[in-house]
């Protein structure tokens, strides 16, 4: 069975390490915050100028001056800090953010990603995505394995405008965990009940498969 978006987030949370500073993109990546292991010190970064994103506020504590990069009202955690946009991106560009999780339209076996523009249709702008993918040392893409028409999103080449090149390190989809190696996609884990053949069939590029591929432990 393919994973729900919540299970994708849960699996990505297993990539977190104590002391990490993490930037979570909009959509499935945001859900990762719900699965940070208890007792683990993980600080969430929001590129509009906040380190230490807390839960959504109670109705009576909503503050229009306190939002995340998705423009949602949030709170801040103990030890949180606020800063301006240029300093926020110094944290990103300077390599101080340990992990970035974001969504994608397409990812290639070389780690290229398209995520921001569909020419003639959706031209909203790249926001901070290009800065994040160009600079974070560790980038994980959270996505469905295929688009809503069933077309593979993991491919040899992106057909849509690129967000960045040679940057994605790992993909967690509803079917598989795939590492991007120098030799291309490498299957690490499969969703419970999903076969290696199904993953191969729904991926538009060769996949390296070594030995038995374990199911994800959710």
């Amino acid at each position: 069975m393919s994973l729900t978006k919540y299970d994708i987030a849960k699996r990505i949370a297993q990539e977190l390490k104590d002391g990490y500073y993490v930037n979570l993109g909009i959509g499935i990546p945001t859900l990762v915050a719900n699965y940070i292991p208890a007792g683990m010190d993980v600080t969430l970064h929001s590129e509009n100028g906040l380190l230490g994103i807390g839960p959504f506020p109670k109705k009576e504590n909503v503050d229009p001056d306190l939002i995340n990069a998705g423009k949602q009202t949030v709170t801040y955690t103990e030890g949180g800090s606020f800063f301006d946009s240029s300093l926020s991106f110094a944290m990103i560009r300077g390599g101080h953010i340990n992990l970035t999780v974001l969504g994608a339209f397409e990812v290639t076996d070389k780690g290229d990603i398209s995520s921001w523009k569909i020419p003639g249709k959706m031209v909203k702008g790249m926001g901070g995505a290009m800065d994040l993918v160009a600079a974070a040392e560790n980038i994980i893409v959270a996505t469905t394995h295929t688009d809503k028409n069933g077309n593979p999103k993991l491919k040899k080449e992106c057909s849509l405008p690129l967000t960045g090149v040679n940057c994605v390190k790992k993909i967690v989809s509803d079917l598989a965990v795939i590492e991007i190696t120098e030799k291309g996609f490498k299957l690490l884990e499969r969703a419970p009940g999903v076969s290696v053949d199904e993953i191969k069939e729904k991926t538009d590029a060769p996949i390296i498969i070594e030995g038995d591929i374990p199911e994800m432990n959710l």
Binding site: L50, K58, I67, K71, S85, G125, A135, V165
Partner: protein, 230 residues
């Protein structure tokens, strides 16, 4: 020389058609509401607006877009504004989409007197078209240029008569860098106090960057996406 002015109308009276204006804010958080309304009333057109976002339909920068006062928009994300997207897709407005961190740094650099710098963002993408690229320590970078503007409109939580500014929470965002990059920077503040009342240790923008300041009024502070936990 006093930096104090009475209101937003006085602040924008010398703005001419075709001028460039930086506007602070992220989404609708920390936007200079009074100054946007004043330039709307003033009616200047063919403006070049530099702002991370373009407001929403009918509020914030969206007001100026609806009245066709903007010739060119330089922004990183304009997704919350349908009228803007329409004008962009139909070619009625010139748009320069810039990666958010690059935009922030171009503004900071402009204000800091740095004409150009190298960043990795956008390398290998359409953002790199026509730009100088260069390798440092085996990694490729793009050259980006610092940016200034005729005016910068910024909004702060507290300010004093010397132009010192303090922001609240995430309402700082682009305001701080833009305050540095305006040839004329106008600050509107929620609370204006006499010089000496703000703690100098807590100042975000030293008054040297601010030419005019006034007490803002009637802040709406609209929320784009109110999300609450039960």
């Amino acid at each position: 020389m006093s930096k104090l002015i009475n209101n937003a109308a006085e602040a924008v009276k010398d703005i001419k058609d075709g001028m460039s204006i930086m506007l602070g804010g992220f989404g609708l958080c920390g936007i200079p509401e009074n100054l946007i309304n004043a330039i709307y009333d003033h009616g200047a057109k063919d403006l070049i607006c530099i702002s991370n976002n373009a407001g929403i339909d009918g509020f914030g920068l969206g007001k100026l877009l609806n009245k066709r006062q903007v010739k060119k928009m330089i922004a990183s994300y304009v997704g919350e504004n349908k009228e803007f997207e329409r004008q962009m897709l139909s070619g009625e407005i010139e748009v320069d989409l810039v990666p958010q961190g690059t935009l922030a740094e171009r503004i900071r650099a402009g204000g800091a007197g740095i004409p150009a710098f190298y960043v990795p963002a956008g390398y290998g993408t359409e953002v790199a078209e026509g730009k100088e690229t260069r390798s440092f320590n085996g990694k490729m970078y793009l050259m980006e240029e610092g940016m200034t503007a005729d005016y910068a409109f910024v909004k702060a939580w507290k300010g004093d008569t010397k132009g010192n500014l303090i922001f609240k929470h995430t309402a700082n965002n682009f305001n701080q860098a833009m305050a540095m990059a305006g040839k004329i920077t106008i600050a509107e503040v929620e609370e204006l106090v006499p010089a000496g009342e703000l703690d100098p240790n807590q100042i975000h923008v030293p008054g040297i960057f601010v030419q005019k300041i006034f007490q803002g009024k009637d802040y709406e502070k609209r929320i784009e996406f109110e999300t609450i936990s039960e």
